[in-house]
């Protein structure tokens, strides 16, 4: 089975490894000529120069001392960074290893955690796990900073294995949770005080809080420290290889490809993890080069999260934004970024979608589609139609559906859009010819309808 490298495949890869592409970006990725070259251009991103983007981002002066500001900052990166996969992988880590500002309180701690995730996004998993386990926001979020050698706090130890590295069905026991918690005692904070709004906390390994006794973790007994415990967990194996490799494989496949990966995929990607010293980059590369990734049943099945929805519409319409409208609507859409309500963060997939979030998404899309001003989130209908024959309803519908990667909708949906373009206010049939007034009313209306169609909620 080999991969047929098509423009559709390139568009799919950009939707998944990034946040969706413009026609020009899709053309450019397709023009790499092979899936290997295209994937490399996304995965081997460290060679992409960030100087100009970082300067433009800094010039926007987002207030990084406020939650709204770091939300804008991260959304901007997802939409406009020249390294889309770096941001997509950082976003996966944000969802998977979540923390929340309501409990953490220090905005700078949340921002720094996000930077750590970006720094380690395609590195060796072990390095990431140690670093994030010592991350001040995470130490607060799952309480390890308060854990003491007498009666340790189990919160981080449990989620480290359940959510982060092994999965609840991997076979660890409650005793393992307790023993890992003992090993992690001593990893705590200094300077976590109200005096500087909780922003000054730094990690410290305090031997006075550490349980120096013998622990048995996943069958191995010794005077284990936190680093030892992480190493034991990540190297815990059975005949198929490491359990952490299969958990990582499961996570990245369900995030980038589709639900319920078959065992052979999980085993393949787990084997890549094992043979590459636990390299996230090589797991990603292998996934994007897997023929299964391009199967029809994989395409257009990922439900965009609210964040992806907000980013994709701006990107794909080549809009302009400071993301203030997105930030204001994140809660209503069910994803107050950097502020989940519990340790697991948000469920993915169809869990994002219900009647209330559909309306909240419609409000965000309407704010974009109906914005004729010079600030906030906006787009230019004429720019999208430039160089195209836009004199009839069906031609405008096809141009915009192609731009939003939803030209494959059922015929009756396309017909409904065309009817809308031609409809008078009383519902009777008129005739769209592309006058300035019609563009202002109906093209904006059509964009709103397309952004709120079931098809655009999927990537």
């Amino acid at each position: 089975m080999s991969i047929n490298w098509t423009r559709d495949a390139a568009a799919h890869l950009l939707r998944r490894a990034g946040f969706g592409g413009t026609p020009a970006e899709i053309d450019a990725l397709y023009a790499k000529g092979s899936v290997e070259a295209a994937v490399s251009s996304l995965v081997d991103y460290t060679s992409i120069d960030m100087t100009a983007y970082e300067a433009s981002l800094a010039a926007k002066n987002y207030n990084l001392l406020q939650t709204g500001g770091i939300r804008q900052w991260f959304l901007d990166r997802m939409a406009f960074s020249p390294r889309p996969l770096e941001e997509k992988m950082t976003y996966l880590l944000n969802l998977w290893w979540t923390s929340g500002i309501t409990k953490v309180r220090g905005v700078t701690l949340m921002l720094n955690q996000n930077k750590t995730m970006r720094q380690y996004a395609t590195g060796k998993f072990d390095d990431y796990v140690v670093k994030i386990s010592q991350d001040p926001a995470m130490l607060v979020w799952l309480d390890n900073w308060l854990s003491r050698n007498q009666r340790p706090n189990e919160n981080y130890a449990r989620e480290l294995m359940e959510l982060f590295t092994l999965g609840v069905s991997s076979g660890y026991t409650q005793t393992d949770v307790t023993e890992v918690a003992r090993a992690l005692t001593g990893w705590t904070l200094q300077g976590y005080t109200q005096m500087d709004n909780y922003n000054g906390a730094t990690f410290v390994d305090n031997p006075a809080f550490h349980d120096n006794g013998s622990k048995t973790i996943l069958g191995r007994t010794g005077l284990w420290t936190g680093s030892d415990a992480i190493s034991i967990i990540l190297n815990w194996s059975d005949s198929q290889g490491t359990k952490s490799g299969r958990w990582v494989a499961q996570k990245v496949w369900t995030f980038f490809a589709d639900d319920n990966p078959p065992d052979y995929i999980v085993n393949q990607l787990g084997a890549v993890y094992d043979s590459s010293s636990h390299s996230l980059k090589e797991v990603l590369r292998a996934m994007f080069l897997s023929p299964d990734f391009y199967e029809p049943h994989t395409m257009k099945t990922w439900v965009r999260s609210p964040v992806e929805y907000a980013v994709a519409q701006v990107r794909m319409l080549e809009g302009t934004t400071d993301f203030s409208s997105a930030v204001n609507s994140l809660s209503g859409m069910g994803q107050p970024l950097f502020d989940p309500s519990d340790a697991k963060g948000w469920d993915w997939g169809t869990s994002w979608m219900n009647t209330g979030t559909v309306f909240s998404r419609a409000s965000l899309a309407n704010a974009l589609a109906s914005n004729r001003g010079t600030s906030g989130t906006r787009f230019d209908p004429n720019k999208l139609l430039a160089g195209r024959d836009a004199s009839t309803a069906d031609k405008v519908v096809d141009t915009l559906a192609d731009r939003l990667n939803i030209a494959d909708v059922a015929p009756d949906v396309r017909a409904a859009w065309i009817n809308y373009m031609n409809a008078n206010d009383d519902g009777s049939r008129g005739n769209y010819t592309g006058t300035t007034a019609q563009v202002d009313k109906k093209v904006r209306g059509l964009v709103h309808l397309m952004l709120t169609s079931p098809a655009f909620h999927l990537a």
Binding site: L142, D143, L146, S147, R148, Q150, R151, P152, N153, E154, N155, R158, L163, V168, Q174, V177, T301, G332, M333, G334, S341, D342, K344, D347, T350, M353, N354, T355, G356, T357, V358, F359, S360, A362, S363, N366, A367, A369, S370, R372, A410, D412, V413, A416, N419, Y420, A423, D425, G427, D440, K441, R444, G445, H448, L449, T452, S453, P454, A455, L458
Partner: protein, 429 residues
Amino acid sequence: MSISRRDFLLRSAGFVTVSAMVPRWSVTGARNFEESLGSAYPGRTLVVLELMGGNDGLNTVVPYTDNAYSQVRSRIGIPAGSILQLDSKLGLNGMIVNGGTKPAMGGLKALWDANRVALVEGIGYPNSSLSHFTSRDIWHTADPTLAQRNGWLGRFLDGYVGNNANPLVCAAVSNALPRTLLASKVSVPSFVSIATYSYSTDGAYPGDKSNQINTFVAEGADQYEIENTLEQVSVLSGLAISSSTTLQSVGNGYVAGGQYPAGSLGTGMQLIAQIINAGVGAQILYITFGGFDNHADEDNAGNNGHNGLLLTVSDSIKALFDDLDAHGKSHNVLLMTWSEFGRRVQDNASRGTDHGTSAPQFVVGNAVKPGIYGTAPSLTQLDANGNLLIQNDFRSYYGTILSDWLGADSSAILGQAWPNVGFLNKSYV
């Protein structure tokens, strides 16, 4: 313009047929309702309150005369002087929160004193999972083997309200749809306010609005034949519009008759009261409230400490019933609580409690047979992890509500017959 639930059902017939070819959820004996039977009590409402995170039962209903309690909870326990006594062994948390004047669970105690509360002790299930997420799924589906896709009330909906055209027959007052309400034949709307629950269109062209809404509904139509992600999303457009139309009407003329606490739970409970007050036929209303995963700093004096959470819960329940009483609507309302587990008996060194097993839950309404079902939990006879033993299986708890409040065949929904706990008045009409 609006689409009725019956239209959905006509279209969803194909969906059901095709999904019959894939493996069905199968708990031994559980029935797949092919035909909706209709509710036995269509005028009744069940309000479900989920306390997310694992509520610490021992600091909610306190065994205040048990010496073991003051030992295992010497740091964060509720002192005997701050107990609202229910009987000679158990009392509600009566701590004063955040410099206020009211005891945390004074609201619920007032309902107790009015003989409107049943307290069911020690609810859990065998081999309790200490994972939030596994345990939550078990409670949502009422199936410890997790073979069921749909929620326990979703199965009630499929069996008893599938032919109901009312888009608000069941709703979640939430930004998410809880799995408890996941059904095969009934789609359930979710919302958190009336004001934001409508389809926004371009304010510059109000005359185009109905074209927009009609097209929005058409985008979601006729895509029901096969079960896939697109169809799961497509079902929402029409339901959103029809449920919005109904919801927009429930605020008319409503004046609050209860003192709701600030925050999402108070706001949501008031919305529940409005919906019930409007008499739009809501049979199941579901609301969640989080923050109970108190691994550390559980006794902090603020609103986010455990005592503060209980104050909000207790005051919200009291306000709901006060409001319903003021409108003469409380007769047909029953409220139940659940939480994925209780917490460890022995506290940890960070003034918190780790994951536990069983916990008490509350059932509130005029139909309860008031009292305590079960006994004060033993703090010395524990399981291997130092957690409480189980007194009442959660399926007995659910089953009692299914059969005696909703008039449903609880053993068909739960896969087998579970002992009726007896906390509801069977002859209540």
